[in-house]
């Protein structure tokens, strides 16, 4: 049974502070969508609204054709995985996993059978009789995962499930989560502040800021074609250059930076360019060279990246981050020019 999750114009308040602003989000059946953002962006609030631990001030939340908006939390039938595992300390691993089945009136023998089968799937069969306190962090999170999956919920939700694990385990666990989620085809909502985690695990990622979704897209699209400067900065476009078009010649556009430098850009390679726009470039996207055409700058600190040198550059109070080739190291204080590499740049609408 796979169903979709829909949030329509959901707003939420803590006291008089609005933490979610007219949020609309659709997670397709069987899809894993991540909510990604810094703390306070509203991602956890969204999850808690869907779980039923918070009430929205307006809007509707649907799971398939069920309206969850006013349904008590314990009737929502959602599998939840918490950051701090939240295992029941007074119950054995098996009883932890069987807890949800017990609430559903499944008889004891069947409960044990299904709990044991689920523990086998997460590789913890031999730990069934232990108490949670005797498990490591990774094992605890596997039990939590088994406990959420065993009730075969139409929706799984993860609240920063890997934040308390060490780096190596985090990678293993996210593969595990993805494997189990795919195998069951369970619609999932995944909350994290870790970009790598979100991009590696999700079908689509919603990047959130100040109670709004800034962009909801596949990781590939987010990474290559961010829709606005917030998302661009979030995915590593460290140079956001305000530009104005001064001349159009066929597909070639000449545009001016704020400090007067002129760049020639090709619409064939960068897509349509409006009269006012932001040129977003990763450090890889601004090539540092001793001469040629581009933005004239003075070089600052040089750092070694292995594949290239990175330079902090300044021009008329503007600062940029650009990469230069290893064969031609330049020194601090040298004059140089920055030219955009179209494959590593994108055109964004000017901020209003």
């Amino acid at each position: 049974m796979t169903v979709s999750l829909t949030l329509e114009n959901v707003s939420a308040h803590y006291g008089s502070t609005q933490v979610l602003k007219d949020l609309t989000l659709a997670v397709a059946a069987g899809e894993l969508v991540s909510l990604l953002g810094a703390s306070g962006c509203g991602k956890t609030t969204t999850l808690r609204l869907v779980a039923g631990f918070l009430q929205p001030s307006s809007g509707t939340i649907r799971l398939g054709d069920r309206d969850l908006t006013r349904l008590p939390a314990h009737q929502r039938d959602i599998g939840l995985v918490f950051q701090n595992y939240a295992l029941f300390p007074h119950l054995s691993v098996r009883d932890n996993v069987a807890f949800g089945l017990k609430q559903r009136g499944v008889d004891a023998a069947e409960r044990k059978k299904r709990a044991d089968r689920m523990l086998e799937r997460v590789g913890l069969s031999s730990f069934a009789d232990r108490m949670p306190a005797a498990l490591s962090g990774g094992q605890k999170q596997r039990v939590a995962l088994a406990r959420a999956l065993v009730i075969e919920p139409p929706l799984l939700m993860f609240d920063e499930p890997l934040s308390n694990l060490d780096a190596k385990l985090r990678v293993d666990m996210r593969v595990e989560i993805r494997r189990l989620q795919r195998a069951n085809g369970t619609t999932s909502l995944y909350v994290t502040h870790d970009q790598e985690e979100a991009f590696s695990i999700s079908d689509r990622v919603a990047i959130m800021n100040a109670g709004r979704i800034m962009q909801l897209d596949t990781p590939e699209v987010l990474y290559q074609r961010p829709a606005n400067s917030f998302v661009a900065r979030f995915v590593g476009f460290e140079n956001l250059i305000d530009m104005t078009v001064v001349e159009r010649l066929g597909e070639t556009v000449t545009a001016r930076t704020r400090d007067g430098a002129l760049l020639q850009l090709s619409q064939e390679r960068l897509g349509a360019i409006p009269d006012r726009f932001i040129l977003a470039a990763r450090p890889d996207g601004l090539a540092v060279a001793r001469d040629g055409s581009g933005i004239p700058v003075t070089l600052g600190i040089r750092t070694y990246l292995g594949r290239a040198y990175q330079y902090q550059c300044t021009a008329e109070g503007q600062s940029y981050l650009g990469n230069g080739s290893l064969s031609e190291p330049l020194e601090t204080g040298d004059r140089a020019v920055l030219s955009p590499v179209p494959e590593q740049c994108c055109i964004l609408p000017a901020d209003v």
């Binding site: 008590p72 939390a73 314990h74 009737q75 029941f88 406990r147 009730i151």
Partner: protein, 264 residues
């Protein structure tokens, strides 16, 4: 070789002296209780257990002991019935509740007991004309409520409420979650609160002094009353029995939870 830190002789002397001052009265009582004299004296002259058997001859000691135990059990039970949900709410909704609210539950300890007792007598016994037994029970419930709220609250302070949310998300209704998930995980705090409250109630004089009345009295009040009439070692032997009861309760705590539990 590890150098053992030597304790300063003065430290040992002072510590011993304090220990002696704390423990000596108890030994004096023990001695007085077995003295074969019709008056309280120490050191004991002769040895007899007749004062212990005398306790059981006096009807008033038996009835007040039963009242004391009933009031202590019922009062503690009522205090936990109010105190556990109060402690839960204070911890669960900490952010939304005003910070002074938790202090309200400590007021019965902060206000001098004699004032509390007098005020209860004036307003409940005289004002509302409630039966003496009911008033006594209410008074003791109020007296031990702070222990229930504070000790259970300490347990809840380290309780991770996402465990409760996990249970609810798995389909367990809120009240059932409280009883089957929250309560088992704070049971040690509840037991500790019960013991502290019970001992406090059993030993209370100030509040009981005002709230006891015709036909209803507690053991400590009976001890006072008895002493006013007879200055015989019966008082000492009752005290010894009360001490043994307390030691017994403490031994059970030590065996099951460890005494450090109470000081946490």
């Amino acid at each position: 070789m590890i150098m053992q830190t030597k304790l300063h002789p003065a430290l040992i002397a002072i510590a011993s002296l304090i220990f002696l001052i704390l423990i000596a009265p108890l030994f004096i009582i023990l001695g007085a209780a077995v003295s074969d004299t019709p008056f309280l004296t120490f050191p004991p002259q002769g040895f007899t257990l007749k004062w212990f058997s005398n306790i059981f001859q006096i009807e008033a000691f038996r009835t007040t002991a039963i009242t004391s135990l009933q009031i202590a059990f019922l009062g503690t039970f009522l205090a936990l019935l109010i105190g556990i949900p109060a402690a839960y709410a204070l911890n669960r909704f900490k952010i939304r509740l005003p910070s002074w609210l938790s202090n309200v539950f400590v007021l019965p300890i902060l206000v001098p007991e004699i004032v509390l007792g007098f005020s209860l007598m004036k307003n409940i016994t005289i004002g509302l004309q409630l039966p003496v037994y009911t008033t006594l029970l209410l008074g003791h419930t109020l007296l031990v409520l702070p222990y229930a709220v504070r000790v259970v609250g300490a347990s809840l302070a380290s309780f991770d409420f996402s465990i409760e949310e996990a249970a609810i998300s798995l389909g367990c209704p809120p009240l059932k979650t409280f009883l089957t998930v929250v309560l088992p995980n704070i049971s040690a705090g509840v037991v500790a609160a019960f013991i502290l409250a019970f001992i406090t109630s059993i030993n209370d004089v100030s509040i009981s002094l005002f709230l006891t009345g015709p036909g209803v009295s507690t053991l400590p009040i009976q001890i006072l009353a008895h002493m006013e009439q007879f200055f015989d070692p019966t008082i000492a032997s009752v005290s010894v029995l009360l001490m043994l009861l307390t030691v017994g309760v403490m031994a059970i705590v030590e065996a099951t939870l460890g005494l450090t539990f109470l000081t946490k």
